[in-house]
């Protein structure tokens, strides 16, 4: 009674676990999913926001750095350009200036000879390439013989020919006005503002831009009497600059709407040199002029409505300022390209991060789903272990029964079960199917099997077993699970079958369906009175049991395998061994199902009963069995049992003693070392062999394993132990050991020699 209570408690605990699992599994409906979805979306959003902010900051920094770098580089480039051009301009200016100054003394020496002046002019122009025209402007009436105005002059014409002439008429009163007087008074030479040459000289050509160096010429008394004017063309400067700038434009500012350009302004703010000829000698934008405060440097301003950088440098001597106007767009054209590439890479990175985030977060943010998957995985493993523990074959000592079972689980953990074992020369077996699938069904299956094992220890009829199981499950389970079951007890001696069918598929006995009462499934109704049935098997009868996984297997078209199909197959193969029959059914159903997914567990169990006929076994019958506790107190029962079995089997006195020694050593070993509680002995005769089966529930121990002790060594000189096992080997004709269902099953075989 106490034991029964304990069992109840155990079952209750298992069912509580079962209910909890059921609760957990049913708790994952849509609202939970939504919650997880929004959680994952929120997480993704936050991460993306942080990444986005970081990227914006990085983009800003990169933009700033690249921009600064590009501007620095442009500044370097243009200031270098300015420096180079300034040198060139200064060189040219100084050529003209030196030529003029050097000739002043020569001219002054010949001041009394007006005709010599032509020679001087001619020489100056001939010897100095940069000077396009050289003239002497004498004061009015200086040489009375030459008239009021005397201007000797030498110049190159458009064909590069040297022309010496008087150009009195071109010098109007303007030249002899205030400007002339001021220049005369100055005691040093100076440069005039640039100007376009007179149309008279230019002829059909476009007038050239010129600048003139003027030096006063003195008479012998030191009074200034004339101005030496050396003209230098600025056309070369314009040409060179346009070309240089073009090469810069092509190199750095290709395709820009506004490109850099270069000009020179004089000290009054007029354009001296400008790529646009029309703008020459026109005033320069005053506002822009003010921005250039120092004599060289960089400033940023707006020129003609275009944001531009100005690079400028003054030329001290002539008081000109060279200016490069570089539109910002043009300067940053390359930077922009670089920036766009960086930005594109960043956006790509952002997209990649987004997808990675979503994937990772989906994995992480689904803890419940993961736990569930884990749980299912673990239960599947547990289920696998459970399956592995199911007995596969029965080691029938008497050979009265041949049995084979197979369970093919579906993809999900399922709830099929079967079990069988021998007790008191009776075969207890069951097959069942827990309603539903998945985790709860698998747990339920474990519970039901444990119940079957424990109930069969005390109950003696199939109906009683089912009845007790039903009440236990109904009392403890609120999950509403039930089990269809078939429980049978087969007397191996007589072939009498006591069975109880609880809503299970009808078994087939040698091609004929076994008549069954329609009981409710176990666990459906607590006060249902299960009714058992009896039948007598004939020797050679084969009992085939299966679960609805077989009869309700569906092919790809959704058609059922069908009970009739099962029955027909069973009818056609009544002479097959249980293993053959089970394997045949498996093959057939697999062929039928083909590519369709197996939706339910398929469990098959086949049992063939053989009459325990023959002269030897008839003599053994009921006395062939001995149950004893695993204690030396009970060992006295061994000798009469073994001796009787041996004598009945026809062994002589010597062989009887030898068998007795073997069995005694085996049992003593179990008692001394096995920690067993019960030992069952069974004697049977198979062909011409007497088989004594020792079955115990102790620690696993295989006495048939090889021993390392050498028994030819005198007993006092070798390690103790192993002696009994040695006798077990020496005194018998064969040993067979199996660990079956938590039991050690040792078959001790003795050959019977006919007298």
């Amino acid at each position: 009674m106490v034991e029964r209570c304990k069992l109840r408690k155990q079952i209750k605990k298992q069912l509580e676990v079962l209910n909890f699992q059921f609760f957990c599994v049913s708790l994952s409906p849509d609202n939970l999913c939504d919650m997880l979805k929004s959680l994952s979306a929120r997480l993704t959003f936050r991460i993306m926001a942080v990444v986005l902010v970081m990227m914006v900051v990085i983009a800003g920094v990169v933009n700033y750095t690249v921009r600064e770098y590009m501007l620095d580089e442009a500044k370097e480039r243009y200031l270098g350009f300015l420096l180079e051009n300034r040198q060139e301009i200064r060189r040219r200016l100084s050529d003209v200036y030196v030529a003029a100054e050097n000739n002043v003394d020569d001219i002054e020496r010949d001041i009394d000879n007006p005709d010599r002046m032509f020679d001087h002019m001619e020489r100056i122009v001939r010897q100095n390439r940069p000077i396009v025209c050289c003239a002497l402007l004498f004061k009015h009436d200086y040489y009375p013989s030459k008239g009021k105005v005397f201007v000797p002059c030498a110049r190159r014409d458009s064909t590069d020919r040297l022309v010496v002439s008087r150009i009195d008429s071109t010098y109007n009163s303007y030249f002899y006005g205030e400007w002339f007087q001021n220049q005369l008074k100055a005691d040093h030479g100076c440069w005039t503002k640039p100007y376009f040459e007179s149309q008279l000289f230019a002829g059909d050509e476009e007038p050239r831009l010129l600048t003139t160096y003027t030096v006063p010429i003195h008479d012998h008394d030191g009074h200034p009497v004339a101005l030496l004017c050396a003209d230098m063309s600025l056309e070369w400067l314009r040409g060179k600059m346009v070309e240089d700038i073009r090469s810069i434009n092509n190199h750095y500012e290709k395709g820009c709407r506004h490109q850099s350009y270069f000009f020179i302004i004089d000290k009054d703010g007029n354009y001296v040199v400008h790529p646009n000829k029309e703008l020459m000698l026109t005033p320069f934008d005053e506002k822009v002029g003010k921005a250039m405060s120092a004599h060289r440097g960089t400033c940023k301003t707006e020129v003609d409505g275009v944001k531009s950088w100005l690079y400028y440098r003054s030329i001290k001597f002539v008081k000109w300022t060279m200016v490069i106007v570089a539109p910002e767009d043009a300067l940053l054209a390359n930077a922009r390209g670089l920036y766009i590439i960086i930005l594109l890479v960043m956006i790509l990175g952002l997209v990649v991060i987004y997808f990675i985030c979503r994937r990772l977060i989906k994995g992480i943010a689904d803890p419940v789903a993961m736990q569930k998957a884990n749980l299912e995985h673990e239960l599947k493993i547990a289920n696998g272990i459970q399956m592995a523990m199911l007995p596969k074959t029965l080691n029938s000592p008497s050979g009265a029964v041949d049995l084979y079972a197979a369970l093919t689980p579906a993809r999900d953990v399922g709830g099929d079960l079967y079990d069988f074992f021998l007790r008191d020369n009776r075969l207890f077996f069951c097959i069942g199917d827990v309603s539903g699938k998945g985790v709860p069904a698998a747990l339920m299956m474990a519970v039901v099997r444990a119940m079957f094992r424990s109930e069969t220890r005390r109950a003696d009829s199939a109906a009683a077993i089912v009845d007790t199981m039903n009440r236990s499950i109904c009392e403890e389970s609120t999950a509403g699970y039930f089990v269809t079951m078939f429980v049978g007890i087969l007397d191996l001696t007589t072939g009498h079958l006591d069975y109880c069918n609880a809503g299970h598929e009808q078994p087939i006995v040698t091609g004929q369906p076994l008549e069954v009462i329609l009981n409710l499934p176990v666990g459906a109704l607590s006060d249902w009175n299960y009714e058992g049935q009896q039948t007598q098997l004939q020797p050679g009868d084969i009992l085939f049991l299966y679960t609805d996984g077989l009869s309700e297997a569906k092919n790809t078209a959704g058609e059922l395998f069908g009970r009739k199909h099962v029955k027909d197959l069973a009818t056609e193969h009544t002479t097959d061994s249980p293993q053959q029959l089970v394997e045949l059914m498996e093959t057939e159903v697999h062929r039928y199902v083909d590519d369709a997914e197996q939706s339910d567990d398929i469990t098959l169990l086949a049992i063939r009963w053989q009459s325990q006929g023959g002269s030897h076994s008839s003599r053994l019958s009921s006395t062939s069995h001995l149950s004893m506790s695993a204690s030396m107190d009970d060992i006295g029962a061994l000798e009469p049992f073994v001796t009787q079995a041996a004598q009945q089997a026809g062994l002589d006195d010597r062989e009887t003693k030898r068998l007795r020694l073997a069995v005694e050593e085996a049992v003593a070993n179990v008692i001394n070392h096995g920690q067993a509680t019960a030992i069952t002995l069974l004697a049977s005769v198979e062909d011409n062999q007497l088989v004594l089966t020792v079955d115990d529930d102790g620690l696993p121990f295989d006495p048939t394993a090889d021993s390392t002790t050498d028994f030819t060594v005198p007993a006092d000189q070798r390690p103790p132990g192993g002696l009994g096992i040695m006798y077990l080997h020496k005194m018998t004709d064969g040993l067979d050991y199996q660990r079956v269902d938590g039991h050690n099953v040792l078959r001790i075989i003795k050959t019977i020699h006919k007298k």
Binding site: M632, E639, R654, F711, D716
Partner: protein, 102 residues
């Protein structure tokens, strides 16, 4: 059934074993052989003429007697071993420990 009786001759303890010396009988046998372990000055003669059966538990008792007696430089003699019992001694490597006489 097992029975053990003992007597003392000059310089020699004599035991007479009757029946089956198996696990059941081992306790009784051990008690019967106690005089051996109280003495250090004599040989031991075990009469096995009427010994029907012996198992390893019996052999262990005889091994202990042998060890005790030998350590005192005395001898253990087995008398009248039947073929069946002799086989058990031989297989276990016990016969060479003892003197035997018919």
């Amino acid at each position: 059934m097992f029975k053990i009786t003992s007597s003392e001759q000059i310089g020699k303890l004599v035991f007479n074993l009757v029946g089956d010396l198996d696990n059941v009988a081992s306790t009784e046998a051990a008690r019967g052989f106690e005089p051996v372990f109280e003495r250090t000055d004599c040989d031991v003669l075990i009469d096995c003429t009427e010994l029907n059966y012996i198992s390893s538990s019996g052999l262990r008792i005889l091994l202990n007697i042998y060890k005790h007696t030998r350590s005192n430089h005395h001898l253990v003699t087995l008398k009248g071993l039947s073929d069946d019992v002799r086989e058990v001694f031989v297989l276990g490597g016990f016969l060479q420990l003892f003197l035997t006489e018919d």
